[in-house]
């Protein structure tokens, strides 16, 4: 199973209520990296059926112009999630977000249902990826095994609302209550070579607070953030835009290593300093980010 989308760029993952046609008709104009079409919390209990019909036709008929289409299904403790998976896979989604993931078995349970749906609706095996939202203390503690649970899993996301309740704290806006979870999750994700995403910021009146939080999670190593409003997108993308000197350095690293490797040379220098092969992946990431941010127009 080798899905090229597994490591795509996901700086911004925007939640959209499947039940609202005005939201799902053209969110791509805001240029998020991913949209998360929500069948879970945003949809009222009596509209769960309606949301699925909307989702199916949106996935089938709306050209999302390369934006990743993740579907958030209902929790494994409901009788809704299996039909959610069938609907999302049949519609042609790229990924499924599992809410309230407690352990690796949860991921495998969903993975089994996805594989079944892929066969039922004649989609290539492995075409649908998975991300797991960790929303409890137990889920966060199990981050490592969750990250290792499935080849389909591209990343884990912190879901701060439920997690803070489980931790018996309130959300302060300073991030102090999430410190442990964030650090632990990033380390687990990196160890398993998957991505890690931060929780939403819901106070739209406090854009300064939002900016501070994005700066923090960016420097902690998160790959991106879940967002609730398109206004948040430019802020995240700006903070995730590599600095000019980093882009220049990354370009030199890649060119140096590619050329020397082709010549069979194993010693690399940039600007007179020795570098090693460990710089290569980081440099590639920097260039990818720079391209997505529109600040790199080079030939790499």
């Amino acid at each position: 199973m080798n899905n090229p989308n597994k490591y795509r760029l996901r700086r911004t993952m925007m939640f959209l209520n499947c039940q609202k046609p005005s939201l799902i008709k053209d969110p791509y104009v805001y240029k998020p990296d991913s949209i998360m079409l929500d069948l879970e919390d945003a949809v009222a209990e009596r509209e769960k059926d309606a949301a699925r019909y909307s989702l199916y036709h949106a996935l089938q008929e709306i050209d999302y112009r390369g934006v990743e289409r993740v579907v958030r299904i209902n929790g494994l403790d409901t009788n809704l999630w299996r039909e959610d998976v069938r609907c999302a896979v049949a519609g042609g989604c790229d990924s499924i977000r599992i809410p309230k993931t407690e352990n690796a078995d949860d991921v495998r349970t969903v993975e089994y249902a996805i594989a079944e749906a892929e066969r039922e609706f004649s989609r290539p095996e492995g075409s649908v990826l998975i991300m797991a939202a960790l929303e409890s203390a137990r889920g966060v503690i199990n981050a490592m095994s969750i990250c290792d649970s499935s080849e389909r899993l591209f990343g884990i996301a912190l879901s701060g609302g439920d997690y803070s309740k489980d931790l018996q704290v309130s959300i302060s806006g300073t991030g102090v209550e999430f410190m442990g979870a964030r650090q632990h999750m990033v380390i687990a994700a990196r160890a398993a070579k998957v991505q890690c995403f931060d929780t939403v910021w819901t106070n739209l009146d406090d854009m300064e607070g939002f900016r501070r939080e994005v700066e923090i999670i960016h420097s902690m190593g998160f790959d991106g953030k879940s967002i609730v409003n398109p206004r948040q997108i430019p802020v995240v993308h700006e903070i995730y835009t590599p600095k000019e000197k980093d882009v220049i350095f990354a370009e030199k690293v890649i060119k140096e290593i590619d050329t020397k490797k082709a010549q069979g040379i194993g010693v690399f220098t940039v600007d007179g300093k020795m570098i090693d092969i460990a710089f290569y992946d980081g440099a590639k990431r920097t260039i990818a980010l720079a391209k997505a941010s529109g600040v790199y127009k080079g030939d790499l």
Binding site: P21, A50, Y53, S54, R86, C87, A90
Partner: protein, 99 residues
């Protein structure tokens, strides 16, 4: 699908439509009210009737109050209202009856 009871789906928000399906003794009636009826009335009717046909609805009164919904939303709301009116439960035939 047999329309067993009155059911509604959708809202009157912008880009949405509200579909009401009621049982009828014979025939299929479609009423449409839309802010864009002069430019898209024909297209909305066509999509609604095709959807009803796919769902196998032969008898019923269907009314659509449209607020500028795209075709995909018209389909979704008609399907949802019909499925509710037919008291459908269980797995849904994605890609078959629903497409």
């Amino acid at each position: 699908m047999e329309i067993k009871k009155t059911a509604v789906a959708g809202t009157l928000e912008s880009s949405d439509c509200m579909v009401t399906v009621e049982p009828a003794d014979k025939g299929l009636q479609l009423e449409l009210e839309s802010a864009v009826i002069r430019q898209y009335g024909r297209q909305i009717r066509k999509v609604a009737l095709e959807t009803l046909k796919r769902l196998g609805v032969r008898k019923g009164r269907v009314s659509i109050v449209d607020k500028g919904a795209l075709d995909c939303t018209i389909k979704a709301r008609v399907e949802c209202a019909v499925m509710r009116a037919a008291e459908h439960e269980g797995r849904i035939n994605w890609g078959g009856m629903i497409r």
